[in-house]
């Protein structure tokens, strides 16, 4: 069933408004008519008209322009089409200046009106879809979606509320999987920028040159394959927030570029000569100890201080074990319904296993573990048996020939082995290793493992 858009036709001549209304009704619209501005505004009180056709010349009382200006106050979302008998550039310009979307000179060709109406309504449909989607997204990332009763986390949530409306740069620190992006989104979607884009970039996943063009965009021909001008994430985030994940992994050159953007909110596209200026809030995140990186000379101290205007440190899951039952319950509900499984909860014994586990991969690991248990479980409740593999892994249960090599070499070998088993699929390998995908990329780079 197509949505019936209400349309209003305002003209002092009844034959004009009624014949126009009849013509539009044949097209399936709900059409009302009004003989003057007052009547139009009265009708607009109870109906949110998608389009108002208003005749420019109406004797006595309000003329078309006045009616339009009042209408825009009462119904700012209505599109106004001014109807005039003679085309004079002046009236047209005035009408458009006061906010008319279009004007038509009567009589006009039926095709002209029909195309005009369908074009305006197509736009309205997109706009209303957009509003619905934005609402959906912001619902998804409100503060109350971060589940916690831990006092430190509560404090962090309070802080995100307070700083949501500022433009200050925020640095979020925390181990992999603690929910750094979730906190960044919570800040974005609670503030004045909520209706503008939130753009997320994982700095660890890309090589230096790719990341540079990803962030700043590039001009046509600036490198092989750059066959058109492309906007970077900074430009895409204009007016909104850019989230730079794994900021501790960027190269010295990019550190310098980023410093300049933070200082001046201006930059050049790769291969470009024109400066681009943006209004962007920067939220950066890292699982590295940045002060340590600064001391070691791997991270610019001036950039660190620029980023570290407001610092949020998210505690690892093992330091907020009281949240494990809450989170587990939440994940069971969500994942079971997503997978269409009839699982209602977790037994006390199973919960004890989860609480005792150390969770090096934090909340994300907990989520993955529960997903795995739900997939393999055949009961209505998750039992301790569903998590037995977790305790075995904890104890390192199976005998395993460990050669006398540095720990890092063991890690390297483990990664290669898992990657081979997963046929090079980084996402699956990361899941199996219980680490974040970007952490895995980081380690691949560090150990120089081709994938």
């Amino acid at each position: 069933m197509k949505k019936v858009w209400p349309i209003l036709v305002v003209d002092d001549e009844e034959v004009m408004s009624e014949s126009m209304a009849a013509w539009l009704r044949e097209d399936g619209y709900r059409v009302d008519t009004a003989p003057n501005g007052q009547g139009a505004l009265e009708l607009a009180k109870s109906t949110d008209y998608a389009i108002c056709f208003i005749d420019l010349k109406m004797p006595g009382g309000m003329d078309g322009i006045e009616t339009m200006m009042e209408m825009r106050r009462v119904r700012p979302d209505s599109s106004i089409i001014i109807i005039t008998a003679y085309a004079t550039v002046d009236t047209a310009i005035q009408a458009m200046k006061e906010g008319a979307q279009e004007y038509i000179v009567k009589p006009c060709h039926p095709q002209e009106i029909s195309m005009l109406v369908s074009r305006i309504l197509k736009l309205k449909k997109l706009q209303s879809e957009n509003v619905i989607l934005r609402k959906k997204i912001s619902r998804q990332y409100k503060h109350h979606d971060i589940i916690t009763k831990n006092p430190r986390m509560q404090e962090i949530l309070g802080l995100t509320q307070e700083i949501a409306s500022l433009r200050s740069t925020v640095l979020i620190r925390g181990e992999s999987g603690t929910g750094k992006e979730l906190v960044a989104r919570a800040i974005h979607y609670s503030g004045a920028r909520a209706d503008k884009p939130f753009v997320s970039v994982s700095c660890a996943a890309l090589t230096e040159t790719l990341l540079e063009s990803e962030l700043f965009g590039h001009e046509k021909g600036s490198f092989t394959g750059a066959d058109g001008q492309t906007k970077g994430k900074f430009e895409l985030a204009d007016g909104g927030t850019i989230f730079l994940d794994e900021i501790g992994d960027i190269s010295p050159k990019l550190q310098a570029d980023l410093l300049r953007v933070l200082q001046e909110r201006r930059f050049y596209r790769v291969g470009g000569t024109n400066e681009v200026s943006v209004d962007v809030r920067v939220i950066a995140a890292t699982n590295k100890n940045l002060p340590e990186e600064v001391k070691e000379g791997r991270f610019r101290d001036d950039l660190y201080y620029r980023l570290n205007v407001i610092e949020i440190h998210i505690p690892p899951l093992r330091e907020r074990r009281e949240d494990i039952p809450l989170l587990a319950e939440h994940f069971v509900q969500r994942i079971a319904s997503e997978l269409g499984k009839d699982i209602s909860g977790i037994s006390a014994d199973a919960l004890k296993i989860l609480i005792d586990h150390d969770w090096p991969g934090n909340v994300r690991e907990l989520e993955n573990v529960i997903e795995r248990a739900i997939v393999t479980s055949h009961n209505g409740t998750l039992e301790d048996g569903d998590f037995a593999w977790l305790t075995q892994r904890n104890k390192g249960g199976q005998s395993w020939d460990v050669p006398d090599v540095p720990l890092s070499e063991l890690e390297r070998r483990a990664i290669i082995a898992v990657l081979e088993r997963k046929q090079g699929n980084v996402k699956e390998a990361a899941l199996a290793l219980g680490i974040d995908r970007s952490t895995l990329y980081d380690k691949l780079k560090r150990y120089d493992i081709a994938h």
Partner: protein, 184 residues
Amino acid sequence: MNAVYLVAIGSVANPVLDWVEATIAEWCPWPVWRVPPLAFPPDSFDMKRGQYKSVDIMKAVARCAPPEATRILGVTEGDLAIPTLTFVFGQAQLDGAVAVVSLARLRQEFYGLPADENVLRERLVKEVLHELGHTFGLTHCAEPKCVMSLATHIGLVDSKELRYCGHCGAHLVHRFTTPDGEKS
């Protein structure tokens, strides 16, 4: 009893009225009755535009309808227009009793081409079905081949087919078989 009345406004050739009558008889189960032709009502001609005021013609057609007419269709050679539009091929009361169809812009001669009776007949039949469809509550159909699709120029009249789409056809059958007061 339900019936469709047919009336000419001004002079309309008899064979043309025969085509219209045959079309209605083919698509609508109700009997078709002709009433004597009407003269164009005074003042219905807009001197400035050289066209007839469609609204005035509709009113005249409505006035001449016998009380038992559930539908009345006017056919005219006059070129019809409404104040905001340069022309209309026809007009109908949505879910009402009255419809009119103009032959003027259905003729090849209007576009500077030699007269063609077959073309005229096909266009007229499509317009009759279209306007009558409106009186049975059908609005414009999104299916471009359906006779109920919106035609804003003669090319679109020609490109639709001489049939209702399944959806519009089903609506009509429902309306033919239920008492006129009960709308779906």
